[in-house]
Subunit: 191 residues, 2 copies
Amino acid sequence: MGRPRTFDIDTAVDRAMELFWRQGFEATSTEDLVEGLGIARGSLYKAFGSKEQLYALALRRYCQRHATGLIEMLDRAEQVRPALRAALLGLVEADLADPELGCLMVNAATERSAHPETVRQVSHTMGQVESALAGALERARVRGEFAADKNPRELAQFLTTFVQGLRVMGKARADRAFLTNAVEIALGALD
Amino acid sequence: MGRPRTFDIDTAVDRAMELFWRQGFEATSTEDLVEGLGIARGSLYKAFGSKEQLYALALRRYCQRHATGLIEMLDRAEQVRPALRAALLGLVEADLADPELGCLMVNAATERSAHPETVRQVSHTMGQVESALAGALERARVRGEFAADKNPRELAQFLTTFVQGLRVMGKARADRAFLTNAVEIALGALD
DNA sequence: ACAGTTGTGGACAGATCAGTCCCTTACTCG
DNA sequence: CGAGTAAGGGACTGATCTGTCCACAACTGT
């Protein structure tokens, strides 16, 4: 009933995600959103309620997309170590290609640490990543891919932490040798 | 000549640093600064020129203070590993005590990656930290504190990266067991 | 066709933004 | 004491901020 929407909600959220990702929450104005999404103010507010709510949607989408991406990648992997190396080096290349972008989850955690909803979303996704890593490492351990005396969950927590640092360094010092070297040493923790 | 300043510039920069640290650049208004510094707008602009320039001063002060703090700590240390562990666990405790604060350098790198001056300042300080760590590790290596086949500069780059991750996780998942465990595994890279 | 419903989009509102102006105040030097 | 100089501070400016309103358009069910 009523007039049908003339824009696609998912596409709009994707575009909002890009804007918030690149500029942050505070630096993205509703005018930026109106332009970037190609929707009038009234429609934007009717569809999403507020800038905060649209941000929450965009962040959730980013988290889901990237967490599931990593989880599937680890599930598909025959060996954990090469898969993990490829994933981390992929992040390095992404940061080198566009150093101003980084990771929306890291940006959200740092810019909006005073906003419980944002922190909860990020924390939840980090937990998922940690669990996926722990699961993959446990399977690898059983297969004898690395030392049996290592604790998969502890390694996963370490790696999750390291990845955040990698994304920050990708913005601050986008240097391939530096970042790839850091990745190799981090992977050394599996030995 | 002329009327003497009635406020202390250093104190004012310190207070601005606290505000930018806690709230970020965008979320800190000039009105916040006027209130927080206890100075009228006119005086603030006469003394500092603009919000951007005051931010640059505050960030530089943070970088100098924290970089020199770490460097002195490493220089004073008789053994690198315990000093490093103490430093990292100190950061963990700081994050647990006030998870909304984090590290101004990390916040700056993520919020203001599109502003070259900010990126340059952060990158420069990260370089100093890396060099201090590399120097301390090299001295430790000579003293036989850890394996001679490890490259101090590579380890320093890894540790510098890891620390940024630690500060992000301190905001996103302020959990002592998680963070201390990540620290211990990171220190394992020295073995 | 008409009533009911919901999206559209531009005008609008009130608050807040960064930054400027300028009169006043407090000092120094001659 | 008077001229010169620089800081203090509050009023002000124009732009921009987020969010609302409302006349209109486009659809559905009867």
